[in-house]
Symmetry: none
Subunit: 188 residues, 4 copies
């Protein structure tokens, strides 16, 4: 991908996590990316397109990062723990991406069928984890969407609050939180 395009996307991501959608202007993006305002329009149709492409960009990044160091032959719990922590680290260490993810949920949605199809693919490993767990009778028999909300969403949510200083999460608490999320989907 063109160097300039990447810089524009990264600048947008950074500003987005800092100011939210309202409050960032194309001029700000241009300045942050170190390009002229007009240059943005060589790579993006308009502001909306920039946002949508960023959405896609981040989604790809999240999907990749989320599945990092996870292979389908690892034990279920190990896979879960790794993904949970991948999620946590994205939000707390890398800074922007996941933080901003919270923002995307309030967008003029781009719920094209392709987009949904893509999202499914991106999170394939998560789906396989839940599917296997349910097949083994280990997990509660719920839709993957729901299992995801119960066990992974709290990771992102907690990370956001931790990063924003709303609450502090110690290492012990972190381990306990992972355990709690595991408990949530486990068949007791």
């Amino acid at each position: 991908m063109s160097d300039k395009k990447t810089r524009i996307l990264e600048a947008t991501e950074k500003l987005l996590s800092q100011y939210g959608f309202h409050g960032i202007s194309m001029q700000m993006v241009a300045k942050e990316a170190g390009v002229a305002a007009g240059t943005i329009y060589r790579y993006f149709d308009d502001k909306n397109d920039l946002l949508h492409q960023l959405h896609h960009h981040i989604l790809s990044y999240v999907a990749e990062k989320l599945s990092q160091n996870v292979s389908d032959d690892m034990p279920l719990k190990c896979r879960f723990r790794t993904m949970w922590l991948n999620l946590w680290e994205m939000a707390t260490q890398d800074g922007a991406p996941l933080l901003t993810r919270g923002q995307f949920e309030n967008l003029p949605r781009s719920d094209s069928p392709e987009q949904q199809q893509l999202e499914k693919q991106l999170f394939a490993k998560v789906d396989r984890l839940f599917d296997e767990g349910k097949a083994q009778g280990l997990f509660k028999p719920l839709d993957n969407d729901i299992l995801s909300v119960l066990s992974l969403e709290p990771s992102a949510c907690l990370a956001r609050k931790h990063a924003n200083g709303i609450c502090t999460v110690t290492d012990d608490a972190l381990e306990a939180a992972i355990e709690a999320c595991w408990d949530a989907i486990l068949q007791h």
Copy 2:
């Protein structure tokens, strides 16, 4: 509270849930509320103030609704279930308020200490629930903030997705989700 002020707040809330923060203008608010644009400035310093006061307004509403039909002498599980469902209903039945709540988290933060203090008070019943549960050794010994993320946040999150049609939650799944959230914070 003045009739006009209430109408302005309600108009803002409605528009907010529909268009997001960017994309609503003071003129739109005025028109929706049935007042003149200038009138808004009798009750609010500026747009920011309007948004902050709305935040507070909704927070109060949520706190009240959240604790509805909950008294401290009810069994813990019953209190939990009621609050979980209160949360669910706010987002799925009332429409705007909670849905838009997702938007508030991306505001130029008003994290003044007073605001945090206020939020604490508003959610006092939730705190008491968690405190009692931990005292009885029933709940995991974690901060209330964390317990809240683990057990109540999924309600709001699920409700949002359900209301937006991203996933469908049957009555049975709903009951199972409540149970799962309870499992999450329970000492096993």
Copy 3:
């Protein structure tokens, strides 16, 4: 009509005759009219609308001026002469209106049926003149549109060239030109 709206229309007309369509900006119009740029948008949807409304405004003016001092009981030649000179005077004395009229013919057309209907009405007296002349066997049996091009258009065209200094038209030449236009439509 609002004072401001009139001032904006007049400013646009003046600038249009001076710079043509390209080369006038909303800022220029605002400055010339002595209003803020944003004010224009209280009275006009956008630049296009401003142009279209101006078109209509000028058309009305032209139609009124064109028929000035003309009544249907005057002799045909006298009516013709008066209208021919009305046209001439609009372009040479008043300055802007007719000069700019040349510009409107190159617009993204607003050829709505209503618009065409309106134009017909506006130039009713011209039509009556031609109709009577043909009924008397005095004029050539041609469409009014064509008769108009042959006998009145030259007035506007000549006036434009005269006003722009492209050619000079003496009083004698003017009388001769009127006579020539009359000759053009006369049955010989």
Copy 4:
């Protein structure tokens, strides 16, 4: 003349007749001409120069086409008729050139003396026609500019309206119009 330069001029002409002066950009011209934007600046100083050179280009074309099949030893009326129809055909058959000519009259004028001198030369045959006619006492003793407006301008004007569908001109009407224009300048 360079192939590229010709293509650029022709592209400009085509776009001009379609969009008018405002509404064509150098990028559009480049695309239509099949060259890079920067290439235009090898042949033209700037946009203004492009427009002026196009003006000249078209003027030459019109002058050539106007005098086509006209020689000074043909009878006056025959010469007149031929030129009148040449004008008519340019606007109705060739499409762009003359139609757009209407646009040139609203340009940031390039009324340099040389330009006017040039125009005189280009339309020499027309001048000779009028001069001879006046010398023979056949035409009215008016400036050639005026005679031209009276007798040839209506051809262009009518053609424009015909091509734009504003009015329809049958073959009979066309002949009558020519006759009428001839009547206009004839000494009666």
